[in-house]
Every structure is written in structure tokens, then in C-alpha cells.
Symmetry: C2
Subunit: 207 residues, 2 copies
Amino acid sequence: MTEPVEKSASGRRGTATAERKQQIIAAALKCFTEKGYEKTTVADICRESGCSVGSLYHHFGNKEGVAGELFIHAIELLNADLLRRLQRCRTVASGVRMVVTQYSDWVTAHPDFARLLHSGDVEFTESAHLRLREIYRGHITAVFEWFHPYVVAGLMRVLPPETYVPLISGPIRDYTRQWLSGRVQKEPAQVQGVFAEAAWNAVKVEV
Amino acid sequence: MTEPVEKSASGRRGTATAERKQQIIAAALKCFTEKGYEKTTVADICRESGCSVGSLYHHFGNKEGVAGELFIHAIELLNADLLRRLQRCRTVASGVRMVVTQYSDWVTAHPDFARLLHSGDVEFTESAHLRLREIYRGHITAVFEWFHPYVVAGLMRVLPPETYVPLISGPIRDYTRQWLSGRVQKEPAQVQGVFAEAAWNAVKVEV
DNA sequence: GATTTACTAGAACGATATTCTATATTAGCA
DNA sequence: TGCTAATATAGAATATCGTTCTAGTAAATC
């Protein structure tokens, strides 16, 4: 199980390579969405993208490699969208609520990505795992930096650091999970109000 | 893929069969805990339990069948434990807090079961799926019945029914997930106070 | 005791992820 | 431009693993 190549992409070759990888990624997303990760075969992905197994393994190392890149791509879209929307908030309350509403809007708009992110059965290669940890750390740091001034100003409760994320995002994530598995009907975006309010309630300073 | 046999267990044969099934279940739990569901092979389970493939398939139909029974067993332990502890509560506030503290106590005490319940990559047979839905429905009903009088009495907020579970249990479940994946160190039981308080805060009637 | 049913065993099978070998294409450079 | 090394593609071969099949054993029932 050798790691896939990662080379400087110069000229025509580079863009062609990037396109091919993109085709495979797109085909994989389609297959995973239709049949789930476990049930899509690499033959499926090859058929859908029109590439050979050799080519797929050359670029991604293995099936997990494909899923890993797709997963990371999805995470980065989600994270970037949050930071963008968070920058526009002008009060702590709206910032906390935004964490919830952005998440529910995003998963409602991109259920295929959401399903992938929640699926849990994607095992990662060592390198993807490390990269993911790094991305998570960076994102959390950026979000905490946004909130930090308000904590200092006494507008947000001081809590054990590792509890903020579950307190604010836990309920909407839990609801989303149930929605993806078909246990509840209403889209996350339709019930975000309740969860956004609860999130602010959980971290605001009592009057 | 024929369904496994399910016969009346009478005499020596019956107990021997039950023991054998139990051995397989126990071996499976051990393997899943050590290597994860996907990476344990049925050969692993057979080796660990000392049975043959034929025997395993006779009793459980397939690998999912083993995981399904284990999963259901775990869920039922968890649910029964909650209902037992909930019955001893004498106020709404303590009941809501109990939902959180019981969960965190239980997953801390049974991390192997917790890992299985959170793993997400167990696909179920049709019958296991239906049984699971039934169990979930019954449990939710029982829990809601306990809380109902308090809602009627105006001591708990009236919210969309499908939001109670995420509001109360979402944060601790989310935290547990992070704990199981190694992203946070403290056991759920060590931070349950914050989440129990938040749960009550989310559903209590404002003064 | 005979017969049916439940159980066990392990070989055989089929599907699928992965590796291997060969070939083609492109980039870099003399 | 032609040569060489690095990249990329293709598909056959391999290995692993879930599942099925066939045969044999033990227990229950009559």
C-alpha cells in the first residue's frame, strides 16, 4: 500500500492530471451518495469516471484515499463557509447563533457531503488522518479567536474549552444525524431556530 | 442470505446452543473493540470463539447478523439502565439531568459497547433494522411518558417533539463521540455536570 | 430404535480490493 | 529536434474475505 504520488503540476500534464483526479473524485461522490461507501466498488468508480484501476491507484493509493480526499474537500468547504459568515457577525449572540444556522443551512444544501461527513465508515490513511487533525485544529483555533474577545469582555461564560463545541453544535449535529438516517422528516434548516436559541442560552452569561 | 434459525430451546441442546451463541457474541465484541467492525474478519471471530464458519452462519446468518445482535444487546442495556434510574427521580430537573448523567456514566463504564453504538458502520439486516426501530420507538415513548406530566404542569417548555432528544442528549453524545475518537481526553463522566446543567437550561421554563 | 431436526465442520466459490507488468505520454534537456 | 526519465493509463493476475455448499454428528421426538 504505497502512498500516491504528489508532484509539482506544471504545464499541460499538470492540468490534465488535476482534471482526471477531479473526475474520479466526482464519480466517487456520486457513487457514495447512491450506494454508500461500503457498497460502492472501485470498479464502480472507474466505470463512472472512465478511468482504469491502475490510474485510480496511481493517483489515490487506494479506495480510502479517494474517500479521504473527498472527505477533506467537504470539511474544508464547510469550514470556510462558516468562517466567512462568522466574519460578518457583529455581536456574540449572532455569532453563536451563526455557528448553528450555518451548519444547518449547509447540510441542508449539501446532503450528499453531509452524509459523507457523518457516515463514520470512512477509514483514513495515516497521512489523511494527520491532515484532518491539522485542519480541525486550525479551524477550531480560528473560531475560538473570533469568540475570544467576547469571553474576555465577560459576555460569554468561561467553560472547560472542550465543552464549547458540543454545547453549541452538539444538538444540531445530533439532529442532522437523525435526519440523514430518516428518523425525522424536517430538514435541519427548518428547526435551526430552536437549536440556535439553545446554543446561545448555553453559553451566554446569566443576567 | 437466509435468515438464521430461531427455535425453542429445550433441554441440554438449548442451553448448549445459547452458550455457543454467547461465545460468538463475546468473541465478536472483543474483535470489534480491538480492530473495528470492518477490519475484523469472520475468521477472526471463529478463531476467537473456537467455532467454525458453518456454525457462525447457522446461528447468525452472516457477519452483520452477529453485529446486529450485539448492537441490539448494547442498546437494550443502555435503555434499561436509563429507565431504571429515571424512575428514581422525583423532580423534572433531576430527570432531565439524569438523562445526561446516566448516559455519560454508562459510556464511561462500557467504552467497548459505546464504541460499537457510535461506530456507524454496522449495516443491519432488514429484520434487525425493524427491531431496532421498534426498540427506539418504545424507549422514546417510555421516556416521554415520564416527562409528560411535567410538560402538562408547565414545568417544561413545549417544543417540537423531535427537538427534545437533540437538545438534551446532543451535547453529551457529541462529546462522547469526540472522546471515543481520541480528540478529547477527559471521560464523559468527568464533564457531565456542564452538559447536565445545559440540558436542563434548554428545556426548563424561563422564570 | 428410527427418523427428523438442529448443529458443526471445513472445503469450495465468488466478489472485490489491491498489486503487477506492460505500454504510452509528457516534461526536461542536450 | 531527438533522448531520457518521470508520469500516467490500462487491464490482467493475485489475495483476501464473506458467503454458500456438502457432508457428517449429535440431540430430540416418536
